[in-house]
């Protein structure tokens, strides 16, 4: 890439931003030197590839691409066997979330993921990957099972958000999202989340409170959809592109902010072009993270997990 004046200005801006980040109590307490090194690495990488408004929007489009592999596509390719578990043992089975026992890289794991549908019928059946409280209860049941039997937990995040409907509210949408997170803080087993498409707000973070959070190259992870943000702040849902550029839901920015630990590469022009290769790359990253997490004692993992999230945020004091 040639050094045009605008990219130099951009780099200066980034350096300034990181310098400020470094001075702030972004990560309180221990491990400061490690964090500094991480920030420096990120600076080097970012200076090369700060995404533009168009690139951010491309991520949004690719993350929602209709041919993008979904949870079941990955399970089929990454796992030697998979037994799906159904129902929340209370009330219903939510098809927007898939949970089950899987054989992955020579061990049994519990795999939980949002599931969108590809054609209209399946999409309606899966409710476009928008979960009801029943779905989070199913996820919690599967994760409790994992904890009992010492199976690692892998979650795949791909949802526009938790379902905004009357019955979902009546069944306690907010409360179950909160309780699902609380359960995940306490799991003694290694836990890994990967955002594989849309990481939409509370519905996404409900199953992403894990030791390691990965994100695919063209996935997005955000507090609100670009359209929703534009509708509220610009009072015009048509300004979604502008909104996305402002709140930066792409993987590079999420890593820069310390929200994700690693970016999982995608084949060529995106995961939708080659499902097999996308699954191979994802499996590789998951294996690497598992190998890193498994030697730790469960108390240590819990402590690190809690600190990972406890230190999120940027404030001045």
């Amino acid at each position: 890439m040639s050094e045009s004046p605008s990219t130099q200005a951009e780099e200066l801006k980034l350096r300034e931003r990181l310098a400020k980040l470094r001075d702030l109590p972004l990560l309180r307490g221990v491990g400061v030197s490690g964090e500094m090194a991480r920030l420096k690495r990120q600076l080097d990488r970012m200076a090369e590839e700060e995404p533009s408004e168009d690139e951010v929007w491309r991520s949004v489009e690719l993350a929602r691409h209709q041919d993008r592999p979904y949870t079941l596509d990955y399970i089929e390719r990454m796992c030697d066997d998979f037994v799906e578990l159904h129902g929340d043992r209370a009330f219903a089975d939510d098809p927007a979330i898939v949970a089950g026992l899987a054989r992955f890289d020579g061990r049994t794991v519990v795999l939980v993921g949002h599931q969108k549908g590809r054609d209209i019928r399946e999409r309606t059946h899966r409710n476009f990957g928008m979960t009801y409280p029943e779905g989070y209860r199913k996820a919690m049941r599967a994760m409790e099972l994992a904890d009992r039997h010492r199976f690692p937990v892998i979650t795949l995040v791909d949802t526009p958000g938790a379902y905004p409907g009357v019955t979902a509210e009546q069944h306690g949408q907010g409360g179950w999202i909160a309780r699902c997170q609380l359960l995940m803080v306490r799991l003694g087993v290694p836990t890994i989340a990967c955002v594989i498409g849309e990481g939409g707000s509370g519905g996404a973070v409900a199953i992403a409170l894990t030791d390691k959070v990965l994100m695919q190259q063209n996935a997005i992870y955000s507090v609100i959809s670009p359209e929703g943000c534009a509708a509220i702040l610009w009072r015009d849902a048509g300004e979604a592109k502008k909104a996305a550029a402002a709140f930066k839901p792409d993987a590079v920015h999420c890593q820069e902010l310390g929200v994700v630990d690693a970016i999982v590469p995608e084949p060529g022009d995106g995961a939708h072009t080659d499902h097999d290769e996308a699954a191979r790359l994802l499996a590789e990253s998951l294996k690497a993270s598992l190998t890193e997490l498994e030697p730790l004692a469960s108390d240590e993992r819990r402590r690190l997990r809690r600190r990972r999230f406890r230190t999120m945020g940027l404030y001045l004091e």
Binding site: A162, A178, G313
Partner: protein, 281 residues
């Protein structure tokens, strides 16, 4: 008996100003209008129809805590602007403006207090500060309140009023959900009680994190407690909403809150709970 000038009738015609906005002291339900001192005396509850007006954080502390016991902490904590966020205006401008308008550093205040002579940690949110939205500072202040409660071995009482996560901080505001959940986990590990008082409105990110994790969940009458508010549910699903959609009463019917407590009874009620959790006797 104290005499009170009834201004209800005279002010009916003047309940909206030129901008079409309702005067903050006009009851949105029965349109009664009150002088400031009248509302203060009734804890900002409409004497005609029992509508609960919003309460600012500092007023709430006065209503709930024993006089002079609240010792605020982390008063210098302010939000950063991690994204250099700019919509129609800069986030930093909005922050500065909110601080001037409310006299608060962010949408929550927290510190040690006593309620009915029982020591506790008290955290109170203020909807007037950017819709009570939760960014890094709100998350941090809540988490520190949990830590202080845990280390002092006292219960935490948190009064919420929030529209959810603060969009202007992007993904970092979403990360305040797991962060505050982690803080509650630490609180529970230390066996400190957590009394969550949900007031109007407690929605989205705050409902989907710490507010729902109280050992006891109390709500004020008529408060909206919903992950998604009625307007968005209506627009997205085109469903017909029940009249009491998302209100405290509906939440109680579906089993999501332990008690609906009118404002005048809140302080003695919280006091009773604190006594239940007391480790002294």
């Amino acid at each position: 008996m104290e005499s009170r000038i009834d201004v209800t009738v005279e002010n009916r015609g003047a309940e909206r100003d030129q901008d079409g906005k309702r005067h903050p002291n006009t009851c949105p339900r029965c349109h009664s209008h009150y002088r400031e001192d009248e509302l203060e005396r009734t804890l900002r509850v409409c004497p005609q129809c029992a509508h609960h007006f919003p309460v600012r954080a500092r007023d709430r502390v006065v209503q709930l805590a024993d006089r002079g016991t609240f010792a605020e902490e982390d008063t210098d904590l302010r939000s950063g602007d991690p994204l250099k966020f700019f919509d129609l205006r800069a986030y930093t401008d909005r922050l500065a403006e909110a601080e001037v308008a409310t006299g608060l550093g962010d949408a929550i205040i927290a510190g040690a207090a006593a309620i009915e002579r029982r020591p506790c940690e008290l955290a109170v949110m203020d909807f007037a500060f950017m819709g009570g939205s939760m960014g890094s500072t709100v998350g941090e202040k809540f988490a520190r309140a949990c830590e202080r409660a845990a280390s002092r071995q006292v219960p935490l009482v948190c009064v919420t009023a929030s529209g959810g996560a603060r969009m202007q901080e992007g993904i970092l505001s979403l990360m305040q959900l797991p962060k505050t959940v982690c803080a509650v986990d630490e609180l529970q590990e230390a066996r400190s009680a957590f009394i969550s008082v949900m007031t109007h409105p407690t929605t989205a990110g705050v409902l989907a994190s710490f507010a729902s994790l109280g050992d006891v969940i109390v709500s004020e009458p008529g408060a909206l407690l919903a992950f998604t508010g009625p307007r968005v549910v209506q627009q997205t699903t085109r469903e017909k909403l029940p009249d009491d959609f998302g209100l405290a009463e509906s939440n109680a019917r579906f089993g999501h809150v332990d008690a609906i407590v009118p404002r005048a009874e809140l302080r003695p009620f919280v006091g009773r709970l604190l006594a239940m959790f007391s480790r002294e006797s």
